[in-house]
Assembly symmetry: C2
Homo-oligomer: 662 residues x 2
């Protein structure tokens, strides 16, 4: 019995899959079909090159509103020696007619003189009343043959290559294809992909999920991905973890599709039936791939009969964690669809960036790390996001992905890495890197800055961590609420110590209430810091360097409470919300934090201390255009009101300059 | 009577339009609507921020397949001192159960030990047969609390900002929104845009267009653009150039749409009714904008009643030339739709590139120049494409657009310009710049190279022009067929002269037949170069520096024919196909060129001379990975057969190295 997987390296997995597809005749353009140009041809992929059937324009025409002439009749015209051409046609006495832009050039003509360059005259030699129907025109310069004429084939010449096969159609392409005489276009048929969500714990979107139940959204994410890549999708109903049910569903899906994605059950847990179903219906090529996240992938083939015809189609067992599922789509489904469409695929846009912190990596795997990318001063920085396979917000927040290749144990901070980007490079210039202490108002700020084309990205490393990041030029600003135990003053002495000789502005964001977050109705009757020493109370702490930790230690010291007496003092979380989540889930009975975090998760809050939370901003960024919408925001009553809607905040000093250092 | 327009600068035009829209209450989010998450929510734009309703995960769960334990029961476990935990639950004697990844953690547990890190034992202390249902497990290391547990809120904490308003939804976003408790999402309603093609000369796609008729495809291009930008579109039937018909159509379109695009008739020609229709129905804000191409734009507002309610919507008179129409879409329609959707719009990706040739520009206008961009050696180059407003292939071929701002007379070659890119920057690394003489096999080559992720871009500047471009490092290779009149040898002496001290390889592409292209059935009985001196024969020439021109002059000299005797010798075209088009359209009776060009346009061909057409490739590019698919292609029989399907080619030396210089 398999209890864990023997992962094969990605290139080997790809080779096995590709070779099975080649054997099945499925490693190339799936099928071509003709569609009318005007029926959603955009984003479809050309199955054949488009050659011009006719030239465009297909007749000589006027490029300007003006008078058609024979150029040889204008020879000798000079400012001082105008030539007069009789209006009305071309014969012994007449020599010109008026034509609009786009009108066919008369057979006898070989040039057009724009209306603004002639003098239309009436029978008496006066300016004509209707300049387009004069008796004659007077011109004061000769014209060269074919001037202001769009000649046949100016745009496209019959037989020319207009677009290559494999090209993804854009709006202007449709125009060019129509212009050269086509009304339909041969494109690759859309691959049909079935997505089967399996799992007894799964509930459809829109139901209330109880403990042990999970909202099924992987099939939605995968279906949306496949459609963007150019496929058609069927989301099958949720199938419980029953071998026969899954087998039946896969058989059913095979009949009408080109590819089956069987989601979850792809590992080797006790209820993981994907591998055995695939083995029963066909062949497991690979079970387990050395990539993180996403290693329990299955690649296989399903055999069946369609009528009397034996058929074989690929199936992919997709891991259940959302990040793994999305990554499996990118690693295996997108390349397959691209191949089936015959699409010419550009290499993803990438950039070299400096890693903001040390990362570790499993040396046996290719590790796909999600990062936020932005520019701070002259450096392009990549800040790693959560590595968890279950953290879909890491994909939502990511600007790109960096691969830590097999054989790497990890990388130190400051290392240069290649990041494959999800967004255009220029977009990264609008990222504001906030680092340091976490405060909920930063979320609101991010929301308010978005319409100003600024993306505020905040990393929560605690107040001290923020100052250190500023000293390394790895952020534009740091949120900080560090209390100096000696002076009772906030932030200034810390900034002087950690950012010496640096010009820095300290701007107040909020005043806020710190206190104890306790469970609803406070069952353990926790009232003050003294209660933390009780043996029946489990505390959850903040990490070293967090302003809240400094505050705790300051008051514990003043109260004479020993940290060894606090059960859970060693358990650290990195944000107020994480502390609130720990209390809400009963991992702990209480934690020090802000009122807003308690309010967010429906906890009770015991107010204890008021503190100041400032933004520490190096002077060069303070005056930078990047930050100006943020600084302006702080003094708008709209934003201040939004902050006041959260419990425990004071905005009386918001936006005030508290200190200027350096 | 207006006969030409007084263009206003773009910023002024935008200001007038915006101010009218503000007054009408139409400069902002149009409307919000709730849509189910699983109904094509991708690419829709959030009308409101998404805040997490619930945490995700919403219960503690196993992060790995393994055994749920209480961490305090593992204290003291060491490799030499294993701890034994009885299997089956948690009470006086039992201390563990098996759970799969994703299963809820039992209330009593606070950690999971992965199955591969334990020794499952049976009642006799032997390895258990079913490792997931042992009698006990033996562990040799203590675990820390909450290890291998996905704690509540690991991904999303209730109340957190998940996505800001204005965000364009991607597949992973749908997952995050579902995960945090939503089943629907509030997005901006799609703006409804009516597109009215007008013009008596227009014919629908799929009809045969006679002389003076044009296939109407602007409405297709614009509708496709609008849909990509996030709008819904109605393409109205073609309306002839009749004031009342157009007026009626605009009134009809106004009722059900947010914006009307009235295509063509926007200038001041005799059949241009757009301005007067708009004036009758509402207000013309701007008529004529100082941009090229596309200056005859009308911006206006239409007033009407919907039932009893007075309404006002914007209308844009869009110029008829296809490039102008597409550009008008980008300048006015896209920003308006973006505003109506409330979408956060990233600045377009751009790059600085060196202009390959001198360009002139009308100083009164912002001039939007289409360019091909690629890298040659260390230089990023921008090669201008046709500037004509009628040349839609210039948009098809373009990698980006550069603006020559008002006040500029033009720019010299070698100038650095900013290019707004249509493609990802990395895509530009795959562009092969071919320059020089034109040959139809280059089109076929482009088609064959596309699947190898190489874009072959050829600029036709004649053989000599190609060598000069190589000397300036502005191309990777040049097609050349320059005959040395003294030696009768091809290319070598020219390369020695124009690329001295440069390592260069000369590789044969084809042998080909040059001859006279004449009208079908050769009505003028043209048989040889001597006929060019006949007074009833009109010749069309190639430009100076073209190999074909060199060939002509060589044989004229040998035959003793004076160029002054040739009618049309001064008329120059830049490619074989253009010469063929000139003959086909009867602008000329004959021209010297290749058989394939005659074949392409159904002309007769009088074969005269055989010549060699080579690729001139600097050694550094010859050995570069970029060109290797091209060099490999030359020796495949598939490509050679494709070339032989054209008339007049000889492939016996294709791919052979003819000379190595330097």
């Amino acid at each position: 019995m398999t209890i864990y997987l023997h992962d094969v390296p990605l290139p080997e997995a790809r080779k096995r899959f590709e070779s099975a597809l080649v054997t099945a005749g499925l490693w190339g353009l799936l099928e071509a079909e003709a569609i009318p140009l005007d029926q959603n041809a955009v984003i479809r992929v050309l199955a054949e090159p488009v050659w011009a059937k006719i030239s465009s324009p297909h007749y000589h025409s006027a490029a300007m509103d003006g008078f058609a002439v024979r150029s040889d009749k204008t020879i000798g015209a000079l400012p001082t020696q105008p030539v007069l051409l009789k209006f009305g046609g071309y014969d012994e006495i007449q020599a010109t007619v008026y034509i609009d832009t786009g009108d066919p050039l008369p057979e006898w003509a070989d040039a057009v003189i724009p209306i603004e360059n002639v003098e239309p005259l009436d029978d008496h030699g006066h300016p004509a009343i209707d300049p387009r129907h004069p008796a004659a025109i007077q011109i004061r310069a000769a014209v060269t043959p074919w001037s202001h004429v769009r000649v046949i084939g100016e745009d496209i010449i019959a037989s020319q290559l207009v677009l290559p096969a494999g090209h993804t159609l854009r709006p202007v392409d449709l125009g060019a294809i129509a212009a050269c005489g086509h009304e339909s276009v041969r494109v690759a048929r859309k691959p049909r992909v079935a997505i089967i969500p399996t799992g007894s714990e799964l509930q459809p979107i829109g139901t209330h999920a109880c403990r042990g139940e999970i909202i099924e959204y992987n099939s939605l994410v995968m279906a949306s991905q496949v459609r963007l890549w150019g496929g058609d999708t069927t989301r099958m109903p949720i199938t419980p973890d029953v071998f026969d049910d899954i087998k039946k569903r896969v058989e059913e899906a095979s009949l009408e599709h080109d590819l089956v994605l069987l989601n979850a059950g792809s590992s080797a847990g006790s209820k993981d039936y994907s591998a055995s179903v695939i083995e029963t219906l066909g062949e497991v090529l690979v079970h387990g791939i050395a990539v993180r996240p996403g290693h329990p992938v299955i690649l296989g083939m399903i055999d069946f009969h369609h009528g009397d015809i034996p058929k074989r189609i690929p199936i992919i067992g997709v891991p259940g964690y959302p990040v793994s599922a999305a990554l499996t789509g990118e690693l295996f489904v997108e390349p397959l669809i691209t191949k089936w469409l015959g699409r010419i695929q550009a290499e993803p846009s990438h950039i070299t960036a400096t890693l903001t912190r040390k990362v570790t990596s499993s040396p046996g795997d290719d590790d796909y790390m999600r990062v936020v990318v932005g520019r701070v001063g002259n450096k392009i920085l990549a800040a790693p996001l959560s590595r968890g396979a279950g953290v879909i917000t890491s994909l939502v927040r990511a600007d790109g992905i960096a691969v830590l290749p097999r054989g790497t144990q990890g990388l130190p901070a400051g290392e240069n890495i290649k990041v494959n980007l999800f967004r255009p490079v220029t977009d990264l210039e609008n990222v504001i890197f906030a680092i340091g202490s976490h405060d909920l108002t930063l979320d609101i700020m991010a929301q308010y800055l978005a319409p100003c084309d600024r993306r505020l990205t905040s990393a929560n490393v605690g107040s001290l961590g923020g100052l250190i990041a500023l000293s390394r030029n790895e952020a534009h600003l740091a949120g900080s609420h560090l209390l100096d135990p000696d002076s009772g003053e906030y932030n200034v002495s810390y900034v002087e110590k950690y950012l010496p000789r640096r010009k820095v502005k300290i701007v107040n964001l909020v005043g806020r209430q710190q206190g104890l977050l306790v469970q609803k109705d406070n069952p353990k009757r926790i009232e003050s810091l003294e209660d933390l020493a009780r043996s029946d109370v489990k505390y959850i702490n903040r990490q070293r360097g967090a302003g809240t930790r400094v505050l705790l230690d300051y008051y514990l010291d003043r109260l004479g409470i020993a940290i060894d007496d606090i059960n859970g003092y060693q358990q650290e979380e990195f944000s107020h919300l994480s502390v609130a989540a720990a209390v809400s889930s009963k991992r702990a009975d209480c934690g020090l934090g802000i009122a807003a975090a308690a309010g967010a998760l429906g906890l009770d809050f015991i107010p204890l201390y008021k503190e100041r939370y400032d933004l520490i901003i190096p002077a060069e960024f303070f005056s930078d255009d990047l930050l100006s919408p943020l600084l302006e925001l702080l003094v708008t009553s709209e934003f201040q009101q939004a902050v006041l809607s959260l419990p425990g905040y004071d905005v009386t000093q918001m936006g005030s300059l508290m200190a200027e250092l350096g």
